[in-house]
Each structure stands twice: as structure tokens, then as C-alpha cells.
């Protein structure tokens, strides 16, 4: 979308904004002091993870300047690779690493695609890639030696490093997810604002112009995609570890779509805004026990209304 990207270098607002962001970050870590109910901790952990996921989409859309219609591929794909590695007997830590590697590689593929395919067609192509992954994991299923169904609709279980039954599981998981969220958002945000981010933005916006300024656009495009995808992959392997299972819904179009919508609502390109919107909406929808179908209805409506408003 051609809406203006987040303006760089506006000092006054920056100081206030930074202070607010820091307070928010601290606040997120303090939550377990007030919330001990498992249901609520779970809802907020999911909110953390979703917010982190949305931030990765926004990093791709803003600083790298490319819209992805299949961000779920990086998240779900990483999770599935980690789970499959676990099935093969691989150490769960190594499995997570493998998942990350997969996400980065998938990101590079998408990055290469973005050099040949632009705008609406890139959305379609990335969407298609994610759907391929989605259909593949839905279709492939088998029975384990113990007779359990593995794959298909039910997904694949993961060997959890910290088992759900462990003491303080939810509190620990919350703390780690908060760390992931804050770390990821801070990292992506700082990268976007840096000189590296400036060059990423140029390479995403206008290849000829960037090349004329001496920027190796291929390298920067690939770098941007690898970072965004890798970050999503990190969220994905964490997600798998927390839930103890990866399911096809992690690769679904609905998931990619929601990331897109939340990022747009939160202010495409600002990274922090989308993360906040994602966090809030996930938490609120959990609180109100809203059906996923109604959630999608709300998201889609909000997207359409926003697009309509912004172009008038």
C-alpha cells in the first residue's frame, strides 16, 4: 500500500514515544505479578506471540517494503521442521535451530521471488507458497508405532524442553514469551531506524534508485527477508514448544491474513504500533471468548474500512 511510512527522525515525539515504549515493555514483564490464573496467563502468552509475529510482518512491509501474503509459512514452517526433527529423535534445542534455519531459507526464497515479482503478484506468490505448505502438512499423515495419528489435521506433537506439568510452567513461559516479544520488537525497530534500515528501505522502495546510490539491492532484499522470516521462525519454534504441538492452523491463510490486518491497523511500518494492536486485540478477543469466525469478520471489516478511509 502506498500509505506513508513511519517518519524517521522526529525528535520530540521520539523521546515521548521511547519513554512510553520502555514503560510498556516493563509493564509487560510485570504482568505475572498480578495474573496467576492459568487461563489468563495462556491468553496473554498467545497475545505476546501473536504480537511478535505481527511485528515480523510489519518489518517486512515497512522497512523492507514488501508485502507478504504468506507470513505464516515462516512461523508454521519453522514449527513443523522443529516438530519433525523431534520425531526423528533430534534434540529439541537442535530442532529449534533447524526450524530457524528453515525459516531463514524460506525467507531467502521469498526474497529472491520479490526481485522478479512485485506488488500484488508478490502477495499472491507468497500466499501460494504458504498454501502449498499448508496443504502439504494437511495431506501427510501416518500412524506412529504406538498407534497415534501423526500429521494431518491434528498436527504433530513436540518434545517440550519444559514440560507443561512442570512447576511454574505458565509463569516461566509467560516470562520467556514477553522476553521474545520485547526483544524482537526492539531489535526489529532499532534495525529499521538504523542506517541499515535506511538502505533496506531504499532497496525495497526503488531498485534502480538504490542501485544508483551504490546499494547492493539483491543483498539487502535478501537480508531483509531473511531477518523478517527468521524472526517469524523464532516465534514459530517458541510457539511449538509452548503449546507442545504444531497444527496446520499455524500455516493457514487466516493466520497470515490476520497478521496483515493487525499490522495495517497498527500503522504499517512502525513495528511497535502493530505489535500493540495485535497484543490488545488477541487479549480482548480471548477475554470476550469470541469465535474465530467473528474475529475474522471483524478483522476483514476493519481492514476494508481502513483502506477505504485512508484513500479518501
Amino acid at each position: 500500500m502506498e500509505s506513508t511510512t513511519y517518519p524517521l527522525f522526529r525528535t520530540g515525539r521520539r523521546i515521548a514515544g521511547t519513554a512510553a515504549a520502555v514503560l510498556l515493555a516493563i509493564g509487560i514483564f510485570l504482568v505475572p505479578l498480578f495474573v496467576t490464573n492459568q487461563f489468563w496467563l495462556n491468553a496473554l502468552i498467545m497475545a505476546n506471540l501473536t504480537a511478535a509475529f505481527v511485528a515480523t510482518w510489519d518489518f517486512l512491509a515497512g522497512p523492507v517494503g514488501q508485502l507478504s501474503g504468506g507470513q505464516a509459512l515462516f512461523l508454521g514452517g519453522a514449527g513443523y521442521v522443529a516438530a519433525l526433527a523431534g520425531l526423528a529423535g533430534v534434540n529439541p534445542w537442535l530442532g529449534m535451530l533447524l526450524g530457524l534455519v528453515f525459516a531463514a531459507i524460506a525467507g531467502l526464497v521469498a526474497g529472491l521471488l520479490s526481485l522478479r515479482v512485485s506488488g500484488p503478484f508478490l502477495i499472491l506468490a507468497t500466499l501460494a507458497l504458504a498454501e502449498i505448505a499448508h496443504e502439504s502438512v494437511l495431506a501427510i499423515g501416518f500412524l506412529s508405532e504406538q498407534g497415534y495419528a501423526i500429521g494431518g489435521e491434528g498436527g504433530i506433537p513436540l518434545l517440550q524442553i519444559l514440560p507443561r506439568s512442570a512447576e511454574g510452567f505458565f509463569t516461566t513461559a509467560y516470562f520467556l514469551s514477553a522476553l521474545l516479544l520485547v526483544g524482537l520488537v526492539a531489535g526489529l525497530y532499532l534495525m529499521a531506524r538504523s542506517r541499515l534500515g535506511l538502505q533496506l528501505r531504499a532497496a525495497g522502495r526503488d531498485i534502480l534508485s538504490a542501485e544508483a546510490a551504490g546499494i547492493n539491492t539483491t543483498l539487502y532484499r535478501l537480508l531483509g527477508f531473511a531477518v523478517a522470516a527468521g524472526a517469524a521462525g523464532l516465534v514459530g519454534v517458541f510457539w511449538g514448544q509452548y503449546v507442545g504441538r504444531v497444527t496446520p492452523s499455524l500455516l493457514a491463510l487466516q493466520f497470515s491474513f490476520s497478521a496483515m490486518v493487525l499490522a495495517v491497523i497498527g500503522g504499517r511500518g512502525s513495528i511497535i504500533g502493530p505489535a500493540m494492536v495485535a497484543y490488545l486485540s488477541t487479549a480482548v478477543f480471548s477475554w470476550l471468548w469470541v469465535d474465530p469466525h467473528y474475529q475474522q469478520l471483524v478483522y476483514a471489516l476493519a481492514l476494508l474500512v481502513l483502506i477505504r478511509l485512508r484513500s479518501l
Binding site: 528501505r201 531504499a202 544508483a212 551504490g214 546499494i215
Partner: protein, 240 residues
């Protein structure tokens, strides 16, 4: 056949065609250090295509391009920039959301010169902005600048890479008389400093005065190549 190294840039028998017609056929020329070469010709004669080939946006089907003695025919644009070749575009391509400062910063980060401290970088940017008289527009997003300013910003970005060769594609197009005078003064100044330049323009009258030599293209072929002052005579000869 003169030595490669005498020329800063040399093109040898460059040819390319789009569809069924030849956009460029067997074009050869060279630019010596400190020289100003003008490339002119009617619309569609292949001027911009030639520039695109020299700057790396296009690869020729046959022929070679040498820069500082090195074969650069297949190199990507950013590599040529790092070697010391900068160009501007006919329709100024600046990043609209970024300020003039940021646009120049982008280029300065990739300059050919040895990377200095943060202060050196800032100094270089300030210097370039001053030279192109964009100091007041420093923090304004490029999307909001006038076309004259945009043209100067293009040049500022090119200069920020510390080029040995500056290629300008139709720099005088759509400028007011005043802006044209200012730009001419800027280019004259750069010429005095010894910067090698290639200027593509259909304003052969300007080129006759500013350039040392002129290459006149017609239908993708070389129609004339020689001292700048002979250009007017050639064009007059064409008319009869």
C-alpha cells in the same frame, strides 16, 4: 586502436535491440579523464539506452564496456557506483518518503572514498548539499520538493558517492530559464574541478558550449563524433 587506460570509460561496438529493431548498433566511443562528453540526438535515437548500458541497468547483446581499464560489461549498477561511476535519471528517482538529507546519506554510505568517521560522513553530506544549494531543503521529504530541487538532489546523491565519472541523463529537461542557468553554473564548476562527465541532452546548443566533445546518435547509430563546437555546424548540415 588506442590503449584502454588512456580512457576513463570506453565503449566498444555496443549493440542491443528491442524486439525487431536495433536500439543501438555498433556504438564505440571513449571518454578521457577530465573530459566532458555530450551525447545528443533526436528522440528515440538510443541515448538513454546507451546510458543504461554504461551504468549497468541493461546488458548489451554484443560489445564491451571498460571503466578504468576494467571490463564492466556485466557488472551490476551498484558495483559500478562503488568503482566511481555515478548517474542521474531522466525522471529524477529519489525516495519520496525520505528527506533530502536521507537520500544523500544513502549514497554517501556507499561512496568510493575510504570510509571515515561519522563526522567525515556528515561533513561530506553537508558539503554536497551546499554545492547543490539544497541546505534549506535538508529535512524536507523528497516527495514535497519542486522538480528543480529534485534534479539538484539527484546530482547531490551522485556527487555523494565521490565519483570519477558523472553521467547526467537529460539534466536540463523541464527546467525554468533560471533553474537552467543555475544548473549550468553548477556543471561548469564541476568541470573546473576536473570531474569527468557524460551529459545526455537533446539541447545540443548547451552541449556545444559546455562539452569538449559531442557524440551525435541517430536511429541507434553514430551520426557524428567530434569537437563540441562542430556540433552546430553538423546539425545545420542535417537540416538541409
Amino acid at each position: 586502436m588506442s590503449d584502454q587506460r588512456e580512457y576513463l570509460l570506453r565503449a566498444e561496438k555496443v549493440s542491443i535491440h528491442f524486439g525487431t529493431h536495433f536500439a543501438l548498433e555498433d556504438i564505440s566511443f571513449g571518454v578521457k579523464p577530465g573530459e566532458v562528453l555530450g551525447i545528443t540526438g533526436p528522440n528515440g535515437s538510443g541515448k538513454t539506452t546507451l546510458i543504461n548500458i554504461i551504468s549497468g541497468v541493461l546488458h548489451p547483446e554484443s560489445g564491451e564496456v571498460y571503466f578504468r581499464g576494467r571490463r564492466i560489461t556485466k557488472m551490476k549498477p551498484h558495483q559500478r557506483v562503488r568503482m566511481g561511476m555515478a548517474r542521474t535519471f531522466q525522471h529524477a528517482r529519489n525516495i519520496p518518503e525520505m528527506s533530502a538529507y536521507e537520500n544523500v546519506l544513502l549514497a554517501a554510505l556507499n561512496s568510493r572514498a575510504v570510509k571515515g568517521s561519522h563526522r567525515d560522513l556528515e561533513g561530506k553530506i553537508a558539503g554536497v548539499l551546499e554545492k547543490t544549494r539544497l541546505v534549506k531543503q535538508r529535512d524536507i521529504p523528497a516527495g514535497r520538493l519542486s522538480s528543480g530541487c529534485l534534479r539538484r538532489l539527484e546530482i547531490a546523491r551522485a556527487l555523494a558517492t565521490d565519483p570519477e565519472l558523472l553521467i547526467l541523463d537529460e539534466p536540463f529537461a523541464a527546467l525554468s530559464a533560471r533553474e537552467e542557468k543555475d544548473l549550468l553554473a553548477l556543471l561548469e564548476g564541476l568541470k573546473q574541478e576536473g570531474l569527468t562527465m557524460i551529459i545526455v541532452s537533446h539541447r545540443f546548443d548547451i552541449l556545444a558550449a559546455l562539452a569538449d566533445r559531442v557524440l551525435f546518435l541517430k536511429d541507434g547509430r553514430e551520426a557524428f563524433s567530434g569537437p563540441a563546437q562542430d556540433t552546430l555546424a553538423f546539425v545545420e548540415g542535417q537540416r538541409t
